[in-house]
Structure formats: structure tokens, C-alpha cells
């Protein structure tokens, strides 16, 4: 194929290398056929082995951090690989929280075999229902009533005897014992009447004295009896309580005996049942409370009394099932650790052991917990809580405020539950490396890194496996089947997504998006299968939904708002290529790079860096230019050049070194005054020895220049010069390839800066001959001569022999 640079000895990159096409692939699956599980995880052997290793290791700290980009099917792989070990492990134990009768603020954790937790909870509920009936019935029994009456009668008699004897004693001495609402008064009697002061004064002195003495003595007696009354009351209460205990014990013991038999193999449960029995007996009086409350809102709720015997099942597993594999999409602190809930009652927030709620740490205990690292790290206190649980090997359900010591209100402190689970943390690579760097505990807790590959080699076997993977996902998502050509088109797009004609992207989310969107367009035309046109339409539509910015830039260039020449020649001016990344979409566009030179101290100024718009890598690239100039030209004289390089009409940051070939060519043009062809654009980085190196975004860059040239009219004069090492990355759009086939556009590859400069200027670069000189009439000779001239001028100036125009 003829190219515009043929006259300078350059051959364009062959069309076949611009886009490595895939031959149609027919996949004819049987209905219900399942693709091998490994096809989904094509090329992920390293990650698979790491996950299997991490899951298999029983020792502490062998949790797994799964590294890889979003959408690379890490979750499904992790869960798939955990299934078999989970089946082998079997269901872990159930956990309940029960009342701690000696310290209700510290609920006790109770462990039961898998499946037994729910059974025990239901047993206790049934027991409570029975007790609620049995205890009142026992107290309503005539036997109890008779025993109680006997006790009361005995006490009553004691009381009456006490007072009667005092009354009698007082009466014998002519003294009345009067009762006031708050106490007693002893008063002298005369003819059974209390005498007043006048009558008293009429009595003989001896009688008065005797009365006073009697009253004095009886007062002491009275006080003694008053002091006896509380003791009598206490003794009576104790007798009644003892009777209540006996009655309750008889009623409860029979009911509990059955449960004790059932759980005789579980000592912890037996111990708890013993505590329940003891507590019910001790509080027997409460269970028969029948009097009306003193205030309406203090209504008596019998269910509240029995609530302390309920069982709060926080972890329930099915007997015989596999160990749990839980993915928690929202690992907030309560969702992870658990929480203690409260209920509002009469304006106050109350809680008890029944309101303790488990988080996924407990629910996955004995199994596998899958978490997203960025979510764990992004939610307050969660990362620290997760590490704490792994380090202490127990789950302590408490609020972050308690953990941090900020809580001042009394709340529950549930007994910690031992933790034995495997954490599978999924995150992007940068997160993993940051954690390694900044969290000293991370390495000891996540000892296994499972690194997902972003892509897989495009070998024939892998292409076939990839096609099976696509067919499987189509089937799983119930999409229309793909024609052989459509399948090939999808695979080509996967190479484009990988930015490499020799590799296929393993980013499953973008693959699924392409398949879903292709299916949509096929259904729009009522087709039974997805054709190549549908895939192409899906790609085109996706671009058209997102290319507003690209269109604006091309429009600005064609209207000469952004100045990009695509015809003619200019000294010190070259079309570079830049890529704009908008997250889900990125595109390339040409950018004018200019250079100016004059006598100076040997420095090349990067204007982008001077105004802080240039990134570190870009600045590094420009500094390499100085070194490359020094190394290649006039090595015996000081580099006496002052050059400046700038991205014209660039108003944002510039990063990367992919423009360094363009920048160096602009400098050489400026030094030599040899113009550069504006119908060409160039990209590539260069090292100090002039070797052109590969860059990223090569397809977008070529397509960006193509878009501008297409707007201005393709005539075969336009081309892009790229690093030779980038040819393998080419997966250009069909439109560009078609234009090249029609000789309307070209792509050239160069290996050295000499080749690039020659292509851009049309002048032979030239190599040093035996005498070490560049041949006359070559670009390099012009450059070297000019640099020697600069050095001479500079020397003259330093010696003070130059004129004000720089001439000697």
C-alpha cells in the first residue's frame, strides 16, 4: 500500500496489524449445558491458587485480600471457590444470648449444635407459656390458700396476743391504750372513762404518782411491742415466701424436668435451665401478683416477667448444611459487629438481652465472610472493628461509642463470642498496597494476596475458551445467542478493551454490558440472535452516548478555535496526541506542541511545569530531552541552548511522557529551522539515547487525529507516527482501518527519534560518518552545527567580544 512517507523510505503499518480480527466462532451449546467453571475465570490461575491456599490454611492471619479491578468477577470466583470447603466444613454451631440472672447487664452467650438453637428457643417459649398457666394455678389451689390462711392466722394471733396482753395489763392498772392515726396514747381511766386534767388533779398525790409510773412502764412495754411488730411482719413474709417457693418449685420442676432430660448432653444448657428454675422459684411472689397498680400506667404485664427466660437466637444454622458463605454489601458497623437495640417505653429507651442483634461476623462465624475493602474502609470504625475481631478472635457486640470510651449511659455488655472465620476482602490493587504501606497490622491479618489479572493472552485456546465464557454468560443472562460473526466481534472488542491486540480483557462487567446492549439492539430489530451489526451498534451507541466532549473538541479544531494545522509545514510546531479520560469513556485528540530555541545555558524549559500544569512524569520527559540533546549533538561543547516547550491552548494539567517524541522533534525543528509536516501527528516517549518507546492509549490517539482529519476531509495525506513497540496494541476502529485500506489515512511506526524526525520533516536525519560528523545536508548536521554555533556565541558573550546582536 502506498503511503505519504514512501518517498522518505517509510512503509506504513500493514492494515492487518491495525486491527487483529477474530475469525467467526460458532458455539453451539446443548440446552442446559454448563460451561466449565474455570472458563469464567480464564487466566486467573494465580488468583485461584491463592484463594484456595488462603481458604485451606487453618492458621490465624491467613485471610485473603483479593486484588483486582472492579468488574473482574472477583466476588463470584471467591464464592465459587469457597463452596466446596464450606460443604466439607459443615454447618457451625448456633449461638444464643440468654439472660444473666446474676448480672442482667451482661447477657450470657450460649452455644448449641447447629439447628438446636431454634429448637431450644421454641422449647423455652413453650415452657414459658406452660409456666404462665401452671404457677397461677398452683397458687389458686385450695391447698395453697389453706396453708396461707394458717400462716396468717398464726401471725394474727401473735399480734393480737401481744396487744391483748398489753391492753389487759394496762386495764389492770387503770390505764387505757388509745390509738391515734399515727400511734398510741396511754391515758388514765376512772370508771372506764379517760380522765382529764381536772379530774387527775383531784386524785391523791400517791395515786397520781402511781398512774404516772404505770404509764411510764406501759410506755416502755408499748415501745417493745412496737419494735416487735416489724419482726413479726418480716417473719410472716418469710414464711409466705417460703410457702410460695415450695409451691412454685413443685409447679416448675415438673415442667423443667422434661427439658433437662432433652438437653442432658449439653452441660451449658443444663446449667442455664438450673438458673431459670432457681430464678422462677426465688421470684415466685411476682408470678402471682394480682393487685391493681397504684398508677394506671404501671399496669402489670405478666409477659414481661417471663421475658427474662426467653432465648435470643443470634446465629442459626441448619443441621447438615454447609458452612456459611456470606457477602455483606453494606458492611456498616452494626451490620458487621452487631448492635444492641433499644425500645422506647414511657419516654425512656430500654434494652435487655433480647435486643442484642448479631452482625455478619457472627452469622458467618465458622465459615467465610466476603467484604468489599473500599466499603469496609469507607464506613466509620468498621476497619478497626474488623481487625479487633480478627486479632482477639472474638466478637464483642458494643457500640463504637463504647469501644472508644465515649458512652456514659449504662447499657448491655453481651458476653463476647469466639470467632473462627475466614475473611475474603475484595479490593482494588491500590487499596491493597496502601494498606500494606500504612497499616502495620494488615500484613499479619491478611497474609494471602490473590491478584486477579486484568487480561489474558489471545492464544487460540484462550480465544476458544473466551467464546465459551461468552456463551455461558449469554445463557445465564437469558440473552439472545450470538452469531459466529457477532462472537468474533465481541472478542475483538475485548482485545480493544485490553488495549492490546494480543490480549483479551477479563473485565467481566464491561463484557456483560456489551452483551446486554447487543441483545437490546438485536431485540429492537426483532431478531432471534445477536448479529455482528448488533454488537457494532451497541459499541457505536455507547460511544455516541458519551462522546459529547470529543465532538466539542473536534468542532473547536475544525472551526480553528483550537489551532491544529493538518496541512502545510511549520518550524518548531508539531501535532502531538493527547488522551482525555472521562472515567467510563476516553478519547484522543491532537494538541499543538511548539518549541522555541536561542542561545542559553543548556536548559529546556517546560512551560507546563513552570505554571504547575505539568505532572511529574511529563516534567521528567522534558528533562530527558535536554539529556538526549546533550548526548546526541556536539558532545565536545557545552550545550548552550535555551529552549522552551509548550502545549498550546492547553488549559488543564498535562501528565505522561507520551509527547516527548513530539517535543524533541519540535525542538530539533526549531534548532535546525527545518519545518515539520502538519499533516502528521506523532506520539511516543523517548529515552536519552533517542530510542522511541511505547505509550498508552495508542488507539484513541490515532482515532482522535483521524476524527479531526476526517472532518477536514481525508485525502490520503494524513498519518500518525507511532512507536514501533505499540503496533501490537493496535485495535483500531473499523472506520479507521477502512480509511487506511482506501489509502485515505496512514499509520507509521518508528523506532528511533531519527526515524520520527525524518518522517515529520521529510529530511534524512543522518548518522555520524567515520570522522564522527553527520553528513552535510542532513537534519542532524543542521542541528549540531546550530548547537556549536550557540556554544560559540555563548563563549563570545562570556568573553565580552559579541555585539549587541549576538554577532562577532
Amino acid at each position: 500500500m502506498a503511503g505519504i512517507l514512501e518517498q522518505t523510505g517509510f512503509q506504513p503499518v500493514p492494515v492487518t496489524e491495525l486491527r487483529t480480527v477474530c475469525q467467526p466462532i460458532a458455539i453451539e451449546p446443548e440446552p442446559g449445558e454448563k460451561a466449565p467453571a474455570t472458563s469464567t475465570y480464564l487466566g486467573q490461575e494465580r488468583a485461584i491458587n491463592a484463594i484456595r491456599f488462603g481458604i485451606g490454611m487453618r492458621h490465624d492471619g491467613y485471610n485473603v485480600f483479593v486484588l483486582g479491578p472492579l468488574g473482574s468477577a472477583r466476588h463470584s470466583l471467591v464464592e465459587e471457590l469457597a463452596k466446596e470447603p464450606a460443604r466439607a466444613k459443615g454447618a457451625p454451631d448456633d449461638w444464643c444470648y440468654i439472660n444473666n440472672f446474676s448480672d442482667p447487664e451482661r447477657p450470657q452467650a450460649l452455644r448449641l449444635p447447629a439447628g438446636k438453637g431454634a429448637e431450644f428457643r421454641d422449647n423455652m417459649r413453650a415452657l414459658i407459656e406452660e409456666i404462665q398457666l401452671a404457677i397461677p394455678a398452683a397458687f389458686e389451689n385450695d391447698d395453697y390458700g389453706n396453708q396461707l390462711k394458717t400462716l396468717e392466722a398464726e401471725t394474727q394471733k401473735e399480734v393480737e396476743d401481744l396487744w391483748r396482753s398489753l391492753h389487759e395489763e394496762a386495764a389492770q392498772e387503770g390505764i387505757a391504750l388509745l390509738q391515734t392515726p399515727t400511734g398510741y396514747v396511754l391515758a388514765p381511766l376512772s370508771d372506764d372513762k379517760v380522765i382529764d386534767d381536772k379530774e387527775f388533779d383531784k386524785l391523791p398525790e400517791k395515786k397520781r404518782k402511781q398512774i404516772k409510773q404505770s404509764i411510764q412502764r406501759l410506755s416502755e412495754e408499748l415501745k417493745t411491742r412496737i419494735e416487735t411488730m416489724p419482726k413479726l411482719r418480716k417473719r410472716h413474709r418469710e414464711r409466705v415466701r417460703s410457702l410460695d417457693r415450695d409451691v412454685t418449685a413443685r409447679a416448675v420442676s415438673m415442667l423443667l424436668e422434661e427439658l433437662k432430660q432433652k438437653y442432658q448432653m449439653l452441660p451449658a444448657v443444663l446449667e442455664y435451665l438450673g438458673e431459670v428454675e432457681h430464678d422462677i422459684i426465688e421470684n415466685a411472689h411476682d408470678f402471682r401478683r394480682t393487685e391493681e397498680p397504684s398508677l394506671p400506667f404501671l399496669s402489670y404485664d405478666s409477659t414481661a416477667l417471663f421475658a427474662s427466660y426467653e432465648v435470643n437466637l443470634v446465629v442459626s444454622n441448619e443441621s447438615g448444611a454447609a458452612a456459611p458463605i456470606i457477602y455483606e454489601p453494606n458492611p456498616s458497623y452494626p451490620n458487621l459487629v452487631g448492635k444492641v437495640e433499644h425500645r422506647a417505653e414511657m419516654g425512656a429507651l430500654l434494652t435487655d438481652f433480647r435486643l442484642v442483634r448479631s452482625g455478619v461476623l457472627l452469622q458467618a462465624n465458622g465459615g467465610y465472610l466476603v467484604l468489599d475493602a473500599h466499603r469496609v474502609l469507607g464506613r466509620p470504625f468498621v476497619w478497626e472493628a474488623l481487625k479487633q475481631a480478627l486479632l482477639t478472635k472474638e466478637v464483642r457486640i458494643e457500640s463504637p461509642a463504647e469501644t472508644l470510651g465515649f458512652a456514659s449511659t449504662t447499657t448491655l455488655k453481651p458476653e463476647p463470642i469466639p470467632l473462627d472465620l475466614k475473611i475474603l476482602l475484595i479490593g482494588e490493587r491500590w487499596l491493597y498496597f496502601l494498606l500494606c504501606l500504612y497499616d502495620k497490622e494488615f500484613g499479619s491479618l491478611f497474609k494471602v494476596a490473590a491478584d486477579f489479572d486484568d487480561d489474558v493472552g489471545r492464544s487460540n485456546d484462550n480465544v476458544a475458551a473466551y467464546a465459551r465464557l461468552i456463551a455461558e454468560r449469554v445463557r445465564e443472562s437469558k440473552l439472545l445467542p450470538l452469531s459466529a460473526a457477532a462472537m468474533a466481534r465481541v472478542i475483538e472488542q475485548r482485545a480493544r478493551h485490553a488495549d492490546d491486540s494480543e490480549r483479551l480483557s477479563m473485565h467481566m462487567q464491561s463484557l456483560d454490558d456489551l452483551l446486554l446492549q447487543s441483545d437490546y439492539w438485536a431485540r429492537q430489530r426483532s431478531a432471534n440472535e445477536v448479529a455482528i451489526e448488533d454488537v457494532t451498534e451497541a459499541i457505536r451507541q455507547r460511544v455516541s452516548r458519551q462522546d459529547r466532549m470529543q465532538k466539542k473538541i473536534v468542532d473547536a479544531i475544525t472551526r480553528n478555535t483550537l489551532l491544529i494545522d493538518t496541512t502545510g509545514e511549520r518550524v518548531g510546531q508539531v501535532n502531538g496526541l493527547s488522551v482525555l479520560d472521562l472515567g467510563e469513556y476516553r478519547f484522543g485528540h491532537p494538541v499543538r506542541i511548539t518549541a522555541t530555541t536561542r542561545v542559553g545555558k543548556g536548559d529546556v524549559v517546560d512551560i507546563e511545569r513552570e505554571v504547575k500544569l505539568g505532572g511529574a512524569i511529563h516534567s521528567k520527559g522534558v528533562m530527558i530531552l535536554s539529556a538526549a540533546l546533550s548526548a546526541r549533538y556536539a558532545p565536545d561543547v557545552p550545550l548552550s541552548l535555551h529552549g522552551s516547550v509548550v502545549f498550546e491552548q492547553s488549559y488543564g494539567g498535562v501528565e505522561g511522557d507520551s509527547a516527548s517524541v513530539a517535543e524533541l522533534c519540535a525542538l530539533l525543528s526549531s534548532i535546525s529551522c527545518v519545518p515539520i509536516r502538519q499533516n502528521l501527528a506523532v506520539t511516543g516517549s523517548v529515552n536519552q539515547f533517542g530510542r522511541v518507546q511505547a505509550v498508552g492509549g495508542i488507539n484513541e490517539k490515532i482515532e482522535g487525529f483521524f476524527a479531526v482529519c476526517k472532518e477536514r476531509g481525508l485525502d490520503g495525506s494524513h498519518a500518525v507516527v507511532i512507536p514501533g513497540d505499540n503496533i501490537k496494541h493496535l485495535m483500531l476502529t473499523e472506520e479507521v482501518v477502512e480509511a487506511v485500506q482506501k489509502n485515505l489515512f496512514n499509520v507509521y511506526a518508528v523506532r528511533t527519534i531519527d526515524e520520527a524526525a525524518a518522517a515529520l520533516t521529510g529530511m534524512t536525519a543522518g548518522e555520524r560518518d567515520e570522522s564522527g560528523e553527520f553528513p552535510a545536508g542532513t537534519l542532524n548536521r543542521l542541528v549540531e552545527d546550530k548547537l556549536i554555533q550557540f556554544a560559540s556565541r555563548r563563549k563570545q558573550f562570556s568573553e565580552g567580544t559579541g555585539d549587541d546582536k549576538g554577532n562577532k
Binding site: W163, P181, Y184, V194, S219, V240
Partner: protein
């Protein structure tokens, strides 16, 4: 308090400050049920307090603590008023609960003959605590020649719930 004026049968409840009202009231209710009768409660003020209080050495010994304090005429008056108010309130509550009306009268023990103002010997019923029987004024009640029902309503607090 309204005086009884109708010709309906009257049930008179005689009480004092130490009476246990519950059993007295229950007895009264039993006799009111099904009858078109009026309920008259007569609070018999205990003269003995005032007589005892006139003695300079009389002490009141607290039921709760056993401590003693001077029992002066002022204290006797205070105790008397409190007792009247307390019993009247309790009766009001009982009457509200029973949805009936009653008449409340106060008679000093030494003027027991005033009881004749409220009761007609031929037809009415007098209900009183049994411990009234030992009191001097009981003979006045007995002379009324009406039906008298004495109810166990012990002077000294000894109800089972007090234990």
C-alpha cells in the same frame, strides 16, 4: 353534708378513726342491695383523745418508730381533724366505686344522743365496728332499740396485707 330527710329505710354506718372501713362498707352494701335505702355514715369523734391531751404528761408513741412526743390538746385537735378528713375521703372513694350516695355526719362521743337525729328505731339498721361494744357510748346506741349489726373491723391494724 346533706342530712337524711326521706322516709326510705336508712342504713347507718357508725365509724371512728381506727375502723377498718372495708368490712363495714361491705356489710352496708349487702344491706343496701335491692332496697331503696339511704346510707348515713356517722363519724364518732373520740373524746378520749382530748381528755388525755389535757394531761400534761401524756405522750403519743409513734406506731412506725416507737418514738414518743407530747400529746397536747392542739395535737389532739389536729389528729381529730386529720382522722375525719381521712375517713371521709375513704368513704367518698368507696361510694364512687359502688356508685351510691351517702350522707356524712360527725358526732362527738359525749353527745351520742345526737345519733337519734339520724336513725329511726323501728325501721333502720345500725352497722358499727364490734370494738364499739366496749365503749361508753355503745350503751347509748343499744338504747336506740333498732337493729344493730356489729362487724369485725378491728381497732388495731392487723389485716393480713399489713404483714
Amino acid at each position: 353534708m346533706t342530712k337524711a330527710t326521706s322516709n326510705a329505710r336508712r342504713v347507718m354506718l357508725a365509724i371512728n378513726e381506727t375502723s377498718s372501713l372495708r368490712s363495714l362498707w361491705r356489710a352496708a352494701m349487702e344491706h343496701l342491695v335491692g332496697e331503696h335505702a339511704e346510707l348515713i355514715t356517722v363519724f364518732v369523734r373520740d373524746d378520749r383523745w382530748h381528755r388525755a391531751a389535757s394531761l400534761p404528761f401524756t405522750q403519743e408513741i409513734s406506731r412506725a418508730s416507737g418514738s414518743s412526743m407530747s400529746f397536747t390538746p392542739q395535737r389532739a385537735e389536729e389528729v381529730d381533724k386529720d382522722a375525719v378528713a381521712r375517713m371521709q375521703n375513704q368513704l367518698k372513694q368507696l361510694a364512687t366505686d359502688s356508685k351510691i350516695q351517702f350522707v356524712f355526719e360527725i358526732v362527738a362521743e359525749h353527745e351520742a344522743t345526737r345519733i337519734r337525729e339520724f336513725i329511726r328505731p323501728e325501721s333502720d339498721l345500725l352497722i358499727a365496728p364490734s370494738f364499739f361494744k366496749g365503749r361508753p357510748f355503745y350503751s347509748e346506741l343499744a338504747r336506740l332499740n333498732c337493729e344493730i349489726l356489729l362487724v369485725e373491723a378491728k381497732e388495731f391494724a392487723s389485716e393480713p396485707e399489713d404483714y
